[in-house]
């Protein structure tokens, strides 16, 4: 049995240590006079390292640090809808437009693009290598019932994949069609281990391909493939009329920064293994700012 004073000393030491840590943890949430900026974005922009290039420059210019929450497009927009983030950088135009129509988003701008590709095992069991029509390729995959791994997570990639199946006139059902329910990187790794096909954005593919046992079977428009595989990224601020607490001023500063010649140059200059991952689309001479335009005000200008 130990004596009471020693037990007390022991407890006091343990608790003081914990308290010391604790106080600093709570104090760790400090922010500058203009606060932090919370950006919800897709795993493709964060995991590839693009934001590691952009954000320090933004912080230098505006003195505001950026908290990045990297999730799927669906989850990023949902966080925006709840007012838990200040702006979103995503890649699912239809979902973005709906978000704007609902009034949650404001001041949408095109930022950059790359494309989607279909990757799969090198022995190409569905015989789709080099096909120029993505829906034909999907029909082949369904016909041969070769493994296809879907994200299944309402991400931009998943939304596009479902759109392409619909375009192909196929309801993918069967043991060959599986959902990973995880992010792009996880899904690629899983597809590689399973020998499955999957739809992937070229940025994530380029960043990860040397660790994967997969090859590109169907190219996107960057390499002369189907234009339906184009992958544009848009950025939008959360409407302060709906969520007055959001950091709207800094969100607009970020949108200004990323679509400025400086931001666009940084995007164009970002390379992994010598290859450019994203192509700037924020600068246009014409008056089309690629924002959401209500139906009644819409002329015959070119919305994609």
């Amino acid at each position: 049995m130990i004596d009471r004073s020693k037990l007390t000393v022991m407890l006091v030491v343990v608790f003081c240590t914990a308290l010391m840590f604790g106080v600093t943890a709570i104090g760790g949430a400090a922010s500058g006079p203009l606060g932090n900026l919370v950006l919800a974005t897709t795993t493709s922009t964060y995991d590839s390292g693009l934001l590691h290039i952009l954000n320090p420059v933004f912080t230098d210019l505006f003195g505001v640090r950026v908290k990045v929450i990297s999730v799927g497009t669906g989850a990023a927009l949902e966080l925006g809808r709840r007012g838990d983030v200040d702006l979103v950088l995503v890649h699912a135009r239809t979902a973005e437009d709906r978000f704007m129509e609902e009034g949650y988003g404001i001041n949408r701008r095109d930022v950059m693009f790359n494309d989607f590709i279909i990757v799969g095992p090198a022995d190409d069991p569905a015989m789709i290598y080099g096909m120029l029509n993505v829906t034909d390729a999907l029909q082949q995959i369904a016909m041969h019932e070769v493994l296809f791994l879907s994200r299944g997570d309402r991400s931009g990639t998943h939304i596009r994949e479902r759109f392409l199946w619909a375009e192909a006139g196929i309801e993918p059902i069967g043991r060959w069609y599986q959902e990973s329910g995880r992010g792009m990187g996880d899904t690629l790794v899983q597809a590689s281990l399973m020998g499955a096909h999957t739809l992937v954005d070229r940025g994530t593919w380029l960043a990860m391909r040397e660790r994967l046992d997969l090859v590109v079977l169907v190219e996107g428009p960057l390499r002369g493939g189907d234009v339906r595989l184009a992958n544009p990224y848009g950025i939008l601020a959360i409407n302060p009329a709906i969520h007055p607490h959001v950091n709207y001023i800094m969100a607009m500063a970020y949108i200004g920064f990323i679509t400025s010649p400086l931001g666009q140059e940084l995007i164009a200059g970002f390379k992994r293994n010598g290859e450019q991952l994203f192509f700037p689309a924020g600068l246009q001479r014409g008056p089309n700012f690629a924002q959401f335009i209500p139906e009644e005000c819409r002329g015959d200008d070119d919305r994609d």
């Binding site: 049995m1 130990i2 009471r4 020693k6 037990l7 000393v9 022991m10 030491v13 343990v14 608790f15 240590t17 914990a18 308290l19 840590f21 604790g22 600093t24 943890a25 709570i26 760790g28 949430a29 919370v38 795993t43 995991d47 934001l51 590691h52 954000n55 320090p56 912080t59 640090r65 950026v66 908290k67 990045v68 929450i69 990297s70 709840r82 007012g83 838990d84 995880r182 992010g183 792009m184 990187g185 996880d186 690629l188 790794v189 960043a207 990860m208 660790r211 994967l212 969520h243 607490h245």
Partner: protein
């Protein structure tokens, strides 16, 4: 042996990260420890009185409370994560405090997860105290508070086990902290809400398995060191 090469790769990466005092890594360890220790502090402050109460007094609903604690001991972390997220979301009941995406949010979800565990282990260690010790204390004229202290002292080993189990669960936790903390590092790699476990998730997502395992090795080492210190303190106090 060739196929076990990854272990060597991860180990050397872990050692070189530690030796270089890699600033992002140090900040990740710092956040992991602070959050886990704060949760442990709050959790044990709640757990100790509950455990003492549930083992010393008889009152209606006691069995039910004990059952709740047992269920809570196995609470899946994603449940805690979703609940804390919905509580802290901007339009949620505590949205005004602006706690989402902060270490404080992580402390809250970890506290929710470890408090039942600490309480449960404490209850079993307090129940394990020999009835003769309690009787002896009473017969020597101990009042209720003195009797509780005698029991606490007698059960000190189990109490420490409870604290270590709580700390272990807190620092190994990943499901809820990634949801309410957001796995945020600043642009220079310095952690805001990134812990060793959420950093591992990120590295796995990027396909850097060896790097992920290197972080895992560091996490285990950390837990080992903390356990060692705790046992050493206990030995010292017991001498």
């Amino acid at each position: 042996m060739e196929s076990f090469h990854f272990l060597w790769v991860s180990l050397t990466q872990a050692v070189s990260l530690l030796l270089r005092l890699d600033p992002p890594l140090i900040s990740i360890i710092d956040v992991s420890l602070r959050v886990a220790f704060t949760a442990l502090l709050i959790g044990s402050a709640i757990a100790i009185p509950i455990a003492v109460l549930l083992t010393s007094k008889n009152f209606p609903g006691r069995q039910f409370l004990r059952m709740l604690i047992n269920v809570g001991m196995g609470l899946p972390s994603v449940i805690a994560g979703v609940v804390v997220l919905l509580l802290l979301t901007a339009r949620g009941p505590f949205g005004a405090f602006n706690l989402l995406w902060t270490p404080t949010a992580m402390v809250i979800s970890q506290t929710v997860l470890i408090t039942p565990l600490i309480t449960g282990v404490m209850i079993s260690s307090l129940l394990g105290v020999d009835q003769r010790v309690k009787d002896a204390a009473v017969s020597l004229g101990a009042n209720r508070a003195q009797r509780a202290l005698v029991i606490l002292r007698e059960a000190h080993y189990g109490m420490l086990t409870a604290l270590m189990a709580g700390f272990g669960r807190a620092i190994a936790e990943v499901g809820s902290v990634i949801m309410v903390g957001g796995n945020i590092a600043w642009a220079d790699g310095i952690s805001h809400t990134r812990t060793l476990t959420t950093a591992m998730i990120l590295e796995v997502r990027r396909g850097n398995f060896e790097q992920a395992l290197a972080l895992g090795i560091i996490l285990l080492t950390l837990v080992l060191v903390v356990n060692w210190i705790a046992i050493w303190l206990q030995r010292r106090a017991g001498r």
